[in-house]
């Protein structure tokens, strides 16, 4: 089976420091892959290489059968690679409904229309309501985003990505900054993602990673040091050393 998305031998260095070192991975439809790694492992750089915000020194990025290594971020979005942001990036003066309408209009190539209103386009409104309903945001649809809670903003961030109907979804720490009491809602939202969507999640919250991912990749110092099932990741000696090292030491000292 041809993977939906893949990177081959991706390299990126900033002035002699190799931040991404020969990274290869691929995703098929329906995959749930988590990318983890300690701070400074090169996760952010990897995300930027994947989305097209950075160009690699060598290696290729393929999406839906095309080489997109030289394509910019916008073109990759149009080809179906959509990301969410680690720090919420929303339009704070606009409502959740407007956010989703804009995403749907953009996907349909109607965002440049200079007359008419999205409220009068039933096909747009139906889809907007469906997505808001799916994520439990329907009651907030007319509030300004700055007036809604951070956990709900994170949900809107996921909703916005979904409205673009991606083939590959890159979730950059979807639970970052969300209080523990509200992570359950993020998890519920993740459970509702379309089954055939390929998801690459970058996350620090290990509980979430273990519950969500079918496969885990560990990045350390820009290199993939583990690629396997969530059950095996904590047993791997190199992972323990690189990522859980300090915890392992505490465990053995006690």
């Amino acid at each position: 089976m041809i993977p939906l998305f893949g990177v081959q031998n991706l390299n990126k260095s900033f002035g002699g420091l190799a931040v991404t070192n020969n990274v290869s991975l691929s995703l098929a439809a329906g995959d749930r892959l988590a990318l983890i790694g300690p701070n400074g492992a090169g996760k952010t750089t990897f995300v930027n290489l994947v989305t097209g915000n950075l160009l690699p020194n060598s290696g290729t990025v393929r999406l839906a059968g095309q080489d997109v290594t030289r394509r910019n971020a916008m073109e990759r979005v149009r080809l179906g690679l959509v990301r969410s942001f680690q720090v919420t990036r929303l339009f704070y003066g606009m409502t959740p409904e407007e956010h989703l309408a804009l995403a749907v209009l953009q996907r349909e190539g109607k965002s440049g229309r200079m007359v008419g209103r999205y409220q009068a386009m039933p096909e747009v409104m139906d889809e907007v309501r469906d997505i808001l309903d799916l994520l439990g945001l329907l009651e907030l649809s007319h509030l300004k985003v700055r007036e809604i809670a951070y956990g709900q903003q994170r949900l809107l961030e996921i909703a916005l990505a979904l409205a673009l109907r991606p083939k590959v979804l890159l979730l950059d720490e979807p639970a970052a900054g969300v209080p523990q009491s509200e992570t359950a809602r993020i998890e519920q939202a993740l459970d509702k993602l379309p089954p055939d969507l390929a998801v690459l999640m970058i996350e620090h919250d290990m509980d979430l990673v273990f519950r969500f991912a079918k496969r885990v990749i560990v990045l350390a110092a820009g290199t993939v040091i583990f690629d396997g099932s969530p059950q095996d990741v904590t047993k791997d000696a190199r992972v323990r050393e690189a990522y859980l090292g300090s915890y392992a030491n505490v465990g053995s000292a006690a």
């Binding site: 989305t51 971020a73 916008m74 979005v77 149009r78 959509v82 990301r83 942001f85 990036r89 929303l90 339009f91 704070y92 003066g93 606009m94 407007e98 309408a101 804009l102 995403a103 209009l105 953009q106 996907r107 109607k110 965002s111 440049g112 229309r113 200079m114 007359v115 008419g116 209103r117 999205y118 409220q119 009068a120 409104m125 309501r129 007319h142 916005l160 673009l164």
Partner: protein, 334 residues
């Protein structure tokens, strides 16, 4: 079924409110226009100048208020419209007011495209500096091309014919005023449609977070450039109106001063709202006129004091602050 009816109602209510709001706005412009006509029959030239400037301020609002582009060079678009309409009449005998308006709008669009291509290459402070460079270049170009523009003497010989073949541009400026008012109304209605359209929403998105817009697959540069061209059309119409009503075009219509003053008017009224642009222009120019007549020596000080007061106590501008107050009162009642 019941649920879907409720949802339709919920979506219909804000839509109706918007339409009512637009109608009130249009009615307000007409009523204030008529009051102006009868209250200041000997001062219609000033009122027409206010309308032309209001078109320029609306045009700045499109790029600054709706898209977040900082510019101190927007008079380039206004001046281009004024000179083009003036040159069409003085050099080519195109003196039909509607045609002159069209020429001004086209020239404004081209000037918008050119300055947009330059200014939008940078962000923030460098963008502001580029916009200042643009207005100086336009100014200098008009100054040097004196065989076309009359240079520092100004362009004269502009003689618009009767509007629709019926209404002569009279000495009292009645035709110019009524024509200006009609142009302002048409532009205002079209801009209302524009800012509420999907494209208007996209532009607000660009202002709030350009990175998010590109993560949605939309091109920020293309949105900004399109808005710049539209704003050029609006400013160009203002310029053409100014050329027709004063029948002379001077270098001041392409000046940094006019650019800066109109930005001040926008901030005074409130950015990001078409009403804010209108309120700002009328308040500033009316205040300037009254104060400069009352105290020719210290009027600039008073204008300065007014601006400081507004920035300190009504940072969203006169209209923006009033609208926020009304909103809060409504919220309190609900």
């Amino acid at each position: 079924m019941a649920a879907s009816t409720t949802q339709t109602l919920a979506a219909g209510a804000p839509a109706r409110r918007n339409i009512t709001g637009s109608l009130i706005g249009i009615a307000a412009i007409i009523v204030i226009g008529i009051i102006g006509y009868y209250l200041f029959p000997n001062n219609l030239a000033l009122l027409t100048r206010i309308i032309a400037t209001a078109l320029l301020v609306l045009s700045i609002d499109l790029v600054t208020g709706y898209c977040g582009v900082a510019t101190l060079g927007h008079a380039a678009l206004f001046g281009a419209g004024a000179y083009a309409a003036g040159i069409a009449s003085a050099h080519y005998g195109i003196s039909d007011p509607l045609l002159m308006t069209l020429v001004g709008a086209l020239a404004g669009a081209v000037a918008g495209l050119v300055s947009g291509l330059i200014i939008l290459r940078a962000h923030g402070l460098p963008q502001l500096v580029l916009s200042i460079a643009v207005i100086h270049l336009f100014h200098e170009a008009a100054n040097k091309a004196s065989s076309w523009t009359g240079g520092s003497d100004g362009l004269s010989g502009i003689a618009p014919t009767a509007l629709l073949g019926l209404f002569e541009f009279d000495l009292w400026g009645r035709t110019a005023y009524i024509y200006g008012l009609a142009l302002l109304l048409i532009v205002f209605v079209l801009l209302q449609l524009l800012v509420r359209s999907p494209f208007g929403m996209l532009a607000r998105g660009v202002r709030e977070d350009p990175l998010r817009i590109s993560a949605m697959g939309a091109s920020v540069q293309s949105v900004l450039l399109r808005m710049y061209v539209i704003s050029g059309v609006v400013a160009g119409i203002g310029g053409a109106l100014s050329a027709m009503s004063t029948q002379v075009v001077g270098l001041d219509s392409l000046s940094f001063t006019l650019s800066a003053e109109s930005l001040v008017m926008l901030v005074l009224g409130g950015t990001g709202s078409l009403y804010g642009a209108l309120v700002g222009t009328v308040s500033f120019m009316w205040f300037e006129d009254v104060v400069s007549a009352a105290n020719p020596f210290h009027w600039l000080t008073m204008v300065g004091a007014l601006l400081i007061a507004v920035v300190l106590f009504a940072p969203r501008g006169l209209y923006g602050t009033a609208a926020a107050l009304v909103q809060r009162l409504k919220g309190g009642r609900a």
